[in-house]
Symmetry: C2
Subunit: 140 residues, 2 copies
């Protein structure tokens, strides 16, 4: 249906370490929503920021890591009270694995894709993450 | 694989008219690549431009139409000589159907999704378009 609610872009990175485990961060109590849920690093673009720069910045801020973008994971849409959010997600390689969290998260884990199902994610996005993990494990 | 080739974002809109036909534009001989191929309106973002503004601008430039964004179609990646291109595609509703082409295109057509297979598209993107059409027709 047509709508005048604005669309905004959020970017997320799936970072893999040398053991092919991806980085999950746990949302701290500092978040108004979904504290305790796990997520891939990333977030909203700043005004005027291109998606690749935003992804580098978010991963630097949230995990203290520099990254090299690798390939598209996919995109999904979810609804917030005042915006339609398009989530664009890319695989990336971290240059180092020494994670340094911001106040937004209070824990992190490097998790094999086959164990993603053991973690609690934010509604909607979790299905997208698990679907990706399933496709990734079955595609050579 | 890691790479230092930059990633850029291209946006495309699937515009539906009242008969549920989508707008295709034919690339003119003014294009260095893929002249004669059909495509959905859209293109690369300008520096500092957010994806929604870029989509409105591209559709205005290429088809002379104002639009209302509706929902995510999906995303795909394709390779250009010097860039990885992420194509992000949204459904949109045109405010009017009086198409005015730019020099980039030399013909247009409003096409039912079940007839997309009759058109020649650029390599890679065509599969993405046909896959969307198939999903769209089978999802209530």
């Amino acid at each position: 249906m047509p709508t005048s609610t604005p669309f905004i872009l959020t970017v997320k990175a799936v970072l893999f370490d040398a053991q092919n485990r991806c980085l999950l961060l746990r949302r701290s109590a500092a978040n108004r929503h979904f504290a305790g849920c796990w997520e891939w690093p990333g977030g909203k673009l700043d005004p005027g920021e291109d998606f690749a720069s935003g992804l580098h910045r978010e991963v630097r801020e949230e995990a203290g890591l520099e990254i090299e973008l690798a390939a598209l994971v996919g995109a999904m849409q979810y609804e917030m009270p005042a915006t339609h959010v398009i989530l664009l997600c890319l695989e990336a390689h971290p240059l180092g694995t020494a994670v340094r969290l911001s106040g937004e998260h209070d824990d992190f884990a490097w998790v094999p894709l086959e164990e993603l199902g053991c973690y609690q994610f934010t509604p909607g996005v979790g299905d997208f993450m698990l679907d990706y993990a399933k496709r990734k494990r079955t595609t050579p």
